[in-house]
């Protein structure tokens, strides 16, 4: 890119902000794919790939995608947790590519919990 004017500067700023959003730690939505051994063998990688593709295609804003270990409920893997800002986290179980697509479009983008795939709302706490 050549010499910038003020509008160009703003465009770069918006683009980079989006790409680097995950560095600031505060996003509108956070999706955690549980990638323990059980999760991986049950297909968590595919779930992750679908999410990465969805995020790319939808110009989705302010969403961060991360991984964590086994959620402790190995028989219901693959699992993912969706956490919207200010809302309790929702755990989804027995995921497939179709299910996670639906969860992404309904819950992450539109804020509607997909109750038929949800296991629980809220998280375990330390005693």
């Amino acid at each position: 890119m050549g010499k910038l004017n003020i509008e160009d500067l703003e465009k770069i700023s918006q683009k980079v902000k989006k790409a680097n959003l995950l560095r600031s730690g505060s996003a509108r939505a956070k999706i955690t794919v549980h990638m323990g051994t059980c999760g991986i063998s049950a297909g968590a990688r595919n779930i992750m790939n679908v999410l990465l593709k969805e995020m790319e295609g939808k110009e989705s804003k302010e969403i961060i995608l991360t991984t964590s270990g086994c959620a402790g409920f190995c028989s219901r893997e693959p699992m993912a947790t969706v956490e919207l800002k200010g809302k309790p986290p929702v755990k989804y179980v027995d995921l497939t590519e179709e299910k996670i697509e639906k969860i992404f479009n309904k819950h992450v983008l539109n804020g509607e919990i997909v109750t038929e795939y949800a296991l629980s709302i809220g998280s375990e706490r330390e005693p």
Binding site: N20, G25, I40, L52, T66
Partner: protein
């Protein structure tokens, strides 16, 4: 596809010297091995501040802080955390004296109490990518200035903010700009003073290494305010990484038309050139610095005229230090009132300090003005290693003075530090504990200033030599009655008679240690005693025969072969052979080695 994880690996000078570029290479290799290269991005950042724990890395968005990484740790880390999602506890930070590691960077005490303005982008951007800076509202301030503000508006904003020079003097920045802007002569020049020379201080280097564009943008705003079209960054050649990042930043800014002619299409021209200094301490003094850029011998000259009237090549020149420039864009974006709401009555905003010496968490910290010394040393610095007692902190390097432990509750700002005989200086904090000898500290700083005196003024050149001679005499056990008074008199005379800041401040470490630790000086002179057991001519080691088990550990470790004795028999140190290294004292498991000081 978008990345799901950014690995922010520190590539400031400290972490680089501990191998962070090797770690980066290993990370990228392992990430490729697991096929994660499209999901995980490795980002090199500037100094993240926690230098004692280097090389450090922050995993985003998880906010997990890894420290003391080695290349050998990387295969495990990539497989466990980035493939399987199980953060690796053993590579996390465990606060001194605690057992459980703290995974989240925001929950680590060192980071918690800091407030970032000058270092706002540290660890969050790649300093070699201008887009990263723009994505953090970079160059938005100069866009605002060029499109909506007059020079007077900018100066008024900086004056209202209360920003003062961060290089040491604390002169109000807005006022400095105003004086220069009103000078009739043309052209005018802008200089960034990056000739950071205090031992143990590296704030400016880190700012340039982690966020060079913030300095460039600050200079652009200053240039617009005073009407300058040419700027210089005067930086020591001992800072190769900072220089290289600054060169890259200037090139990228020029490509984007943020330097050069018709900046952002707003009709303003400004260029920056880098001038490398050879590392002479006196070049941090503004008139010497100007002489050095002009290519003549870097000696200071009498002021007035001040550089604002007659500076570089006799033209009006505005000099500010790196940290001051880095604050400017943020003040324009967030407003003067916001900045003025942070800090104390006369000292606004934050200050970056380098925390070194006898402290657990060595590193670079940015704190609001008015924070107490106690908070800096204990809450952020993690206290003194080995549970030793805090003795004092030398603030402001060779120009500053020591603040004793009785002033732990002192709010740190320009005025209060001067009141206790110290000064802000550029922000070096050297922490001392019970094992530090104050005569020795004073001697160390005098050695430095005596070496660095340019030699122009007799008072500074010969005065520092005379003070050093007396201090050396005292720590060698040859101090005389009246030496303390002589040091005080010399100190006052050097302050009065020297032309520049170097000479005017060099007696400070001596005068302040005398003021707060006079008894230590007296012990050296009258009793030939070094209470901290540091000055070698005044101490001796002896083995207590009742406690010695004859284990032979000390005699094996002694580098001078000064310890003799039969197995299971008490050992003896031959005083004529002993080099007083203290190894026997450190290795003895039965506390049989005693260190003694004094006439006996």
């Amino acid at each position: 596809m978008a990345y799901r994880t950014h690995l922010m690996i520190c590539t400031g000078t400290a972490c680089v010297s501990c191998g962070s570029f090797d770690i980066k290479k290993e990370l990228e290799q392992e990430i490729r091995k697991h096929g994660l290269e499209k999901e995980i991005l490795v980002v090199t950042t500037g100094c993240q501040g926690f230098c004692a724990q280097g090389p450090v890395m922050v995993v985003q968005p998880d906010e997990i802080f890894y420290q003391k990484l080695t290349s050998e740790d990387i295969p495990e880390l990539v497989e466990e955390h980035f493939l399987k999602g199980r953060p690796v506890k053993r590579l996390m930070f465990t606060p001194p004296g605690e057992e459980t590691p703290v995974p989240n960077i925001n929950e680590i005490g060192f980071f918690q109490k800091q407030r970032l303005i000058a270092l706002r982008n540290k660890g969050l951007i790649d300093p070699e990518k201008i887009d990263d800076y723009i994505g953090r509202d970079g160059y938005k301030a100069i866009a605002k200035v060029l499109s909506t503000m007059t020079s007077e508006d900018v100066i008024k904003e900086i004056k209202t903010s209360g920003l003062r020079g961060r290089g040491g003097g604390g002169f109000p920045t807005g006022l400095k700009w105003e004086i220069c802007s009103k000078s009739k002569d043309n052209p005018k020049y802008i200089i960034c003073n990056a000739d950071e020379g205090d031992p143990g201080a590296y704030m400016d280097r880190s700012i340039i290494e982690s966020d060079p564009h913030s300095v460039i943008e600050g200079m652009l705003i200053g240039a617009k305010a005073i009407g300058a079209h040419q700027g210089y960054v005067y930086i020591r050649s001992e800072y190769p990484l900072a220089i290289s990042r600054l060169e890259i930043a200037i090139r990228q800014a020029s490509e984007y038309g943020l330097l050069g002619n018709d900046i952002l299409g707003q009709g303003f021209d400004f260029n920056i050139e880098i001038k490398q200094g050879a590392g002479a301490f006196v070049c941090g003094e503004e008139t010497s610095l100007i002489h050095s850029i002009e290519g003549v011998s870097p000696e200071p000259r009498q002021r007035p005229p001040f550089p604002a009237q007659s500076g570089l090549w006799g033209k009006p020149t505005n000099i500010n230090n790196v940290e001051t420039w880095a604050n400017v864009p943020r003040i324009i974006i967030r407003g003067a009132e916001w900045f003025a709401s942070i800090g104390t009555e006369k000292s606004k905003g934050t200050k970056v300090f380098s925390l070194v010496g006898k402290i657990n968490n060595t590193g670079l910290v940015e704190v609001p003005m008015g924070i107490t010394l106690k908070e800096i040393i204990y809450d952020i610095g993690g206290g003194i290693p080995g549970g030793k007692a805090f003795k004092g902190v030398q603030i402001g390097g060779p120009s500053g003075g020591v603040v004793p432990s009785s002033s732990l509750d002192l709010p740190v700002d320009y005025e209060r530090l001067v009141e206790v005989g110290s000064m802000m200086g550029s922000g070096g904090m050297v922490v001392t504990d019970e094992d530090t000898c104050m005569v020795d500290i004073a001697r160390y700083f005098l050695e430095f200033t005596n070496d660095e005196s340019c030699g122009k003024c007799t008072s500074c050149r010969d005065g520092s030599a005379a003070m050093l001679e007396i201090l050396t005499r005292i720590s060698d056990g040859n101090g005389k009655e009246g030496d303390i008074e002589l040091l005080e008199e010399l100190g006052r005379a050097i302050k009065d008679a020297s032309q520049c800041g170097l000479g005017q401040t060099l007696p400070n470490p001596v005068l302040s240690t005398i003021a707060h630790f006079r008894d230590e000086y007296e012990a050296h002179i009258k009793e030939k005693k070094c209470p901290a057991h540091v000055c070698k001519p005044l101490i001796s080691y002896r083995i207590e025969s009742e406690k010695c088990t004859g284990c032979k550990l000390c005699s094996r470790k002694c580098p001078a072969n000064a310890i003799t004795g039969e197995v299971k028999e008490p050992h003896v140190i031959d005083q004529s052979q002993c080099i007083k290294c203290g190894i026997c004292y450190d290795v003895c498991k039965f506390n049989a080695v005693l260190v003694e000081t004094g006439k006996s």
